[in-house]
Amino acid sequence: MNFRTHTLDNGLEIVAECNEGAHSQGLGFFVKTGSRDESDELAGVSHFLEHMVFKGTPRRSADDVNREFDELGAHYNAFTSEESTVYYAAVLPEYQEPTVDLLADIMRPSLREDDFEMEKKVIVEEIQMYADQPPFGMDDKIKELHYGQHPLARSVLGTVETVENLSADQMRTYFEARYSPSNLFVAAAGKVDFDALVKQVEQRCADWPMQSTQRKIPAASSGSSFHCVHRETSAQQYVLQLLDAPASESEDRYAAKLLATMFGDDSGSRLYWEMVDPGLAESASMGHYEYLGAGMYFLWMSCEPTDALDNFQRLVEQETLAQTEGFTAEELRQAQSKVKARIVLGSERPRNRLFNVGGNWMQRGKYRTVADDIAAVENTTLDDIHRVLAACPLTGGTTVTIGPLADWPSVNS
């Protein structure tokens, strides 16, 4: 395992974890842009742009792009989050150069008007699809309620209205500002020929003009409130909760992940034994998510509407109990075993390593080996957990419930 980096004159960085023993490689362009970088009228543009990137370049039609990825036998896709847009392909090592050629080319898309209008329809379908599924848009709603005017409150998809009102020109302007070589980088993992990679990227990206980009990372001032949204046609009642947690810059993020595992992993956690094992809830879990300048615990509970009030009570009791009495050494040991095994299993595939290498570089500008991550998990003590618990309590936060319940008595009590 060998970590290499190189920076082109225009600021574009190339980072790779080279592993001679791998059979395949993961290769990706990581762009530091997402919904947090949008304005009200551009809501959804990062994600829409991610779709448009596959719609062709001066050298390739949309059909060519799809066809060529398939010809390379690539397992490829892209995703957009609050703060990143990632384009990646897992391929056999002999296809490194054509994969670089294709990915680099689509990073300079044509953004043609007719493709733009056609793809808009697909985006609207995607928004409608999610609107029909649990939690029926409440994942966006809860961020808005919790973060208020903070950029993290912004929806990744945007709304049907904002997407329909977007123009191709607005997207072009956004693209120019955000897809600058200093605001994106190339990451690779697996069986990578790094020296060749540098040349291949240089040949194709060296003439991309430099642009300075900025991202606002204001302090998050979060709220604490409860909202009940009535949705008569749902079968189940859903409860979502958002709590502040260590951010991606924080060394406490490992403790936060272990804490979330002990409290709300989908198996063997406190919420599991309290609500899932006895069949009181369909699911009850908590995960830790990290962003620049803010982190969150995200809780999810779904159950029969008639049990929702009692279950919410149980949830609050568990939170209070954890907050006042903390966790045990045995719970920590179990969570550590579980998380370490996940790291080892997850590291076997180059495409998974790509996301780890790229994610670390994106968020912290650092490289971490599998051994570093394992050591960080092993070295977390119960004191660390309790310190994080004190700094970011499990009590309070923002809660949203949606389902057949028309009102929620405890709100007023």
């Binding site: 398939d70 010809e71 069986k191 069949g279 095994a341 299993l345």
Partner: protein, 421 residues
């Protein structure tokens, strides 16, 4: 450029226990993990007609304590071993899958031997188990695409092969401790059980351990599948949603059929990769939906191609018509360039599968079930290399997509295509 990647030669080992259980293993030093897939012959097809969902309930119950461990100790010990686990109930089997660091393989296996041989099936937790199953049933009501596919399978397969593994509310509510115990006695048996293991381990040591964990398991006669019930359901299900969900199915050939790879390749041309026909025609050219796909789902003796598309109500009719049109057109054959792209994807997929112990343990266990042997990745690679577009086209000529089954779910019914001929 690097030399052309080849699938590594990895040998699959087979060991049959005297009680009929089969162990298949594919050891490799290339990974640090080991994974297994344990297939036990308790599938939804074995559920009594008035106890639909019993296999799922039993699958929940066997994890509520086994051997010397109670419910909590069982889950905790698996987690301390770092086991990433999963369970699912299929048509003919319940699948228990587990992956962990290689050094914990045998300890994990010994716990699973308890789970499938000596579960506590605690009477005082039966209500919990039932509630878990009922929650699952209710939850699927809120997932329109999942609901549609359950309906499509139910309509496309002869009973009991198209059932939902979730069963139904009455079947779960009516299940008693005796039903659960009886189903366990009938279906959790070594004859018909397959254990697939892949990753870092020594084969002789594995055989020895498996003999000690499972060797004394007593075989029993297989249960007769009750196919006396028929399911009648309407094409359209009313659902208050923004999108309309469309399902189309047609018969295909199962995995063990000599034509399987051709049938599979034909579906790949239809729906593998973004240059596939459905993606191109339905999404790229017309922007009709975000999701459109077709998969070949195989059981031991029958298979169906299941297509799905989800789109807003006002565009649903066009989506159905365009999708259906592509299925009919597939009967006209595939082009060499389409097949070559698919072959490239399959080949890289095979090579990448070497990088995952979990994927391999499942594949080799299922291979044994369907074929009574294990195909190495090298062998599959060679079969794919040999495949030609002429072969796929001639398969399609003799097996054109036909005998379609439809299902729709959404705010309004659609007009089904007129099928001629």
């Amino acid at each position: 450029m690097s030399p052309v990647s080849q699938v590594q030669r990895r040998e699959a080992h087979i060991h049959q226990l005297d009680n009929g259980m089969v162990l298949v293993g594919e050891p490799t030093d290339a990974v640090e993990s080991a994974a297994f897939t344990l297939l036990v012959p308790s599938g939804y097809s074995t559920d009594p007609a008035n106890r639909l969902g019993l296999s799922s309930l039993l699958c929940d119950m066997v994890l509520r304590g086994a051997g010397k461990r109670d419910s909590r100790a069982l889950i905790n010990d698996l987690e301390i071993l770092g086991v990433e686990r999963g369970e699912s109930v299929g048509a003919s089997q319940t699948s228990f899958s587990s992956a962990t660091i290689a050094s914990n393989l045998f300890d994990a296996l010994s716990i699973y031997a308890d789970i499938v041989r000596r579960p506590a099936l605690p009477a005082n937790q039966l209500d919990y188990g039932k509630l878990v199953c009922l929650q699952e049933l209710r939850g699927s009501e809120d997932e329109p695409s999942q609901k549609l596919m359950i309906k499509l399978r139910e309509r496309a397969y002869p009973s009991p092969w198209g059932r939902s593994s979730n069963g139904d509310e009455a079947g779960i509510q009516d299940s008693t401790t005796e039903n659960v115990a009886e189903h366990f006695a009938n279906c959790y048996r070594p004859n018909g059980t397959i254990l697939g293991v892949a990753g870092k381990f020594e084969w002789p040591a594995l055989v020895e351990q498996v003999e000690s964990y499972f060797g004394s398991w007593q075989s029993t006669a297989p249960v007769e599948v009750d196919d006396s019930t028929t399911v009648n359901s309407q094409v359209h299900a009313q659902h208050e949603s923004n999108q309309c969900h469309i399902g189309i199915a047609f018969p295909s050939v199962p995995y063990r059929d000599p034509d399987y790879l051709r049938a599979w390749a034909a579906v790949g041309v239809l729906s593998g990769g973004m240059s596939s026909r459905l993606f191109t025609e339905v999404r790229e050219k017309r922007g009709l939906c975000y999701t459109v796909s077709a998969t070949l789902q195989t059981q031991l003796e029958r298979a169906r191609v299941l297509c799905y598309a989800g789109t807003t109500a006002e565009r649903a009719q066009e989506t159905l018509d365009v999708t259906f049109d592509e299925l009919v057109k597939l009967g006209g054959g595939v082009r060499a360039d389409e097949l070559n792209r698919l072959k490239a994807r399959i080949k890289s997929g095979l090579i990448m599968q070497q990088e995952s112990s979990s994927a391999r343990s499942g594949s080799i266990a299922r291979d044994w079930y369907h074929l009574g042997r294990v195909r190495t990745l090298e062998e599959i690679g060679a079969l794919i290399d040999e495949l030609t577009s002429d072969e796929v086209s001639s398969y399609l000529e003799s097996h054109p997509p036909q005998d379609f089954t439809f299902a729709t779910l959404g705010p309004a019914p659609l007009k089904l295509p007129q099928i001629t001929g």
